[in-house]
Amino acid sequence: MRSVEDAVGVQIPDNARIIRNLLHGAQYQHDHIVHFYHLHALDWVDVVSALKADPKQTATLSENVSNAPWGGATYYKNVQARLQTFVDSGQLGPLNNAYWGHSAYKLPPEANLMATAHYIEALRLQAKAARMHAIFGAKNPHLQSLVVGGVTSVKDLTPDRIAEFLYIWKETQDFVKNVYIPDLLAVASFYKDWGAIGGTTNFLAWGDLPTTNQEPESLFMPRGVILKRDLAGVKMAQQESVTEHVTNAWYEDGAPKHPYKGETKPLQEDPEYRPGGGKYTWFKAPRYEGEPCEVGPLARVLVAYAKGHPDVKAAVESTLSNLGVPVQALFSTLGRTAARGLDALVIGNAMEGWVMELVDNIKNGNTATYASWEMPDSAQGVGLNDVARGSLGHWINIEGGKIANYQYVVPSTWNLGPRDEKGNLGPVEEALIGTPIADPKRPLEVLRTVHSFDPCIACGVHVIDPDSNEVYKVKVL
């Protein structure tokens, strides 16, 4: 949408910008909560161990570390009984056959029970949080009120709708502040060694959430690129510096191309994976000035931190001091997982102000949500922003009023893309090097790092035991 708006040269109204920011903000809150609790927590939390916890001690722990609205021995006793009934049924459903009891799980039973209880609470909270999207976006998933030129939900700019949004925002942000962040810190305190595992080198954020019609200057989460972990050397990121490589991807060979010139020509054959060489993935390999870059919450937080964003700086510093780890610990699996929480915290906090801005506009009689535009015969445009998983870019060429070429480079392509023609590793591959694995047949540690990127794919990872040189194929889901 932004790429077409750029191509046709339309400036969206202030209200459309705010509503889009609110929808994006809600997405950050929602996605990060779901990722932490439902897609990542069980790499750190042993649910089976929670059955051994003492509910009273769990209540005490919970009161000490969090401000969760639920708690007390009875609450934890009930959660534990519910789990026990589930386990006793012999039908373990999604919990069946995981790496429970693995030596890399470090939490005491009480912390496991607390986290499991919050896993269940978060399941309900996320369903409620998604209603923010429905208010201004028709439904979630797959919103349907966004159009080139603005948003269509003009009839939802009413006091009752805005109040409803605000209430759900508050409940969600209270969860982030009082449950998510405290849980994150509590769990992290048992896994500080992960502050030195799973790091990468370069970081790219297109930035997001424009606070005026000036981009990138007014982006609440700023645009920037950090190469070789040089925080002080953070610089503005330019879309012109992006290329995509297809040497190792199942596309017809060609030189690296900028997305405006990009091609998507899948091989007309059964794309077999051949160990030991050749093409091996559907991902292209995106590069910035020829370098692979990690994108996502960690990149976003690092760029904002390096640029001195006051909210991000305060959140990062308090987290580092709480855990007693140095700033270098950010370049790790632990740093990536923590950054996701801080991203939700900082963006979520800012949303209230944006709602009030919307209210002020309406008070002053400004209810415009759409600006009209005309399709030119020929044009090109780029749309850059960040989404929960990281930097997203769309590039469009228009000829004869129709799409002549359309390319997008999405977060998981940056993070999970293959080696390029020079053999440079993609970020996830780089991050996995040197991961200590206690048991190659149950590589829980690999899941921790892969999941920490919030990959938008079920992907194949190969683990080699240096002693036996045995290759295990592990599907990370």
Binding site: A134, E269, L477
Partner: protein, 314 residues
């Protein structure tokens, strides 16, 4: 009987559900399914405490996981109740804790243990060109997996446009030769169409199965009539504007602000069968036309080809 009712209430309380909440949910679901109110207590029984939770094997093919996400938003019942107390989700790639060999093992164990008894839910389309080579999991093609698992199920539910009709990857030029699960396997599927569908229609179908021991009445495409029996247009709160020829001709216009008919903005409501205007999404919060955007026809076969450009009048 009295004792059973008491136990039932206790079980509910243990699960943190008040009797009032529970009956509200049962009534809502019963109404969505078009059953008479005398069914309410029976719906309650189905969800109270089955002796054995019905096993579900949920397969992912070429898809975006939006349908799984939609089901995660279920509030009647809550998703944690669906997972912990109502169903036995024996295999689901997104939510299962197991990975790698252990994940594959779960699939094979469940298939063996519950052969002929499990509900198979398929999300996504199946690649057929180049021996199905464009879509693989653990070295096996979607086609091989679908052909192995689907015929062993008691019933197969295709969830979402992709599993029902092929979806976006089956749109022209369809480089991987993607088809629906039914076409890939030759097994009739019940189709919960939409991109993504409303989770209430998925849950309603499952309840129908648990309650009556059979699948709900279907239309000629295999979609449950309780959800897909009428067009959007026939149920649309803006229908009177259509009849009065009160049309929106541009977004951002006075007519758009008044909430007039979106037919001229390309709304596909007249040809699309779904219950969006009645049940709405996310706890009845809204739906596309309410948010000022036309229906894009996402529960109709091949809507990506048939109904684009979306903003052109039917």
């Amino acid at each position: 009987m009295e004792k059973e009712q008491k136990q039932f209430a206790e079980r509910l309380e243990q699960k943190g559900v008040s009797r009032r909440d529970f009956m509200k949910f049962c009534t809502f679901l019963t109404a969505t399914m078009g059953l008479s109110s005398s069914f309410v207590p029976k719906v309650a029984e189905v969800f109270a405490a089955p002796k054995q939770r019905p096993p579900v094997i949920w397969l992912h093919f070429a898809e975006c996981t939006g349908c799984s996400e939609a089901v995660l938003r279920s509030m009647y019942p809550w998703i944690d109740q669906l997972v912990l107390e109502v169903l036995d989700i024996a295999y689901h790639e997104t939510i299962m804790a197991a990975s790698g060999y252990q994940a594959e093992e779960n699939l094979h164990m469940a298939m063996k243990k519950y052969e002929g008894k499990f509900i198979c839910v398929c999300e996504g389309a199946v690649a057929t060109k180049f021996n199905g080579g464009y879509g693989k999991i653990a070295g096996r093609t979607f086609q091989e997996i679908a052909k192995e698992v689907v015929p062993k199920a008691a019933a197969t539910i295709a969830i979402g446009q992709c599993a029902c009709f092929g979806g976006i990857q089956a749109a022209k030029p369809n480089p991987g030769g993607y088809v629906s699960v039914e076409e890939a396997t030759g097994v009739k599927t019940i189709k919960i169409a939409g991109c993504p569908p409303n989770p209430i229609n998925f849950v309603g179908t499952v309840v129908n199965y648990l309650l009556l021991g059979k699948l709900p009445a279907l239309d000629h495409l295999g979609r449950p009539l309780f959800a897909y029996g009428k067009t959007i247009h026939d149920q649309c709160p803006r229908r009177a504007h259509f009849e009065n020829d009160e049309m929106v001709e541009e977004f951002g216009s006075e007519e758009a602000a008044k909430g007039w008919c979106l037919y001229m903005m390309g709304c596909k409501g007249p040809e699309t069968y779904n219950n969006c205007p009645i049940v709405k999404f996310n706890d009845g919060t809204s739906w596309p036309v309410e948010a000022g955007h036309g229906c894009i026809g996402c529960s109709e076969p091949n809507f990506w080809d048939k109904y684009t450009p979306f903003y052109e009048m039917l």
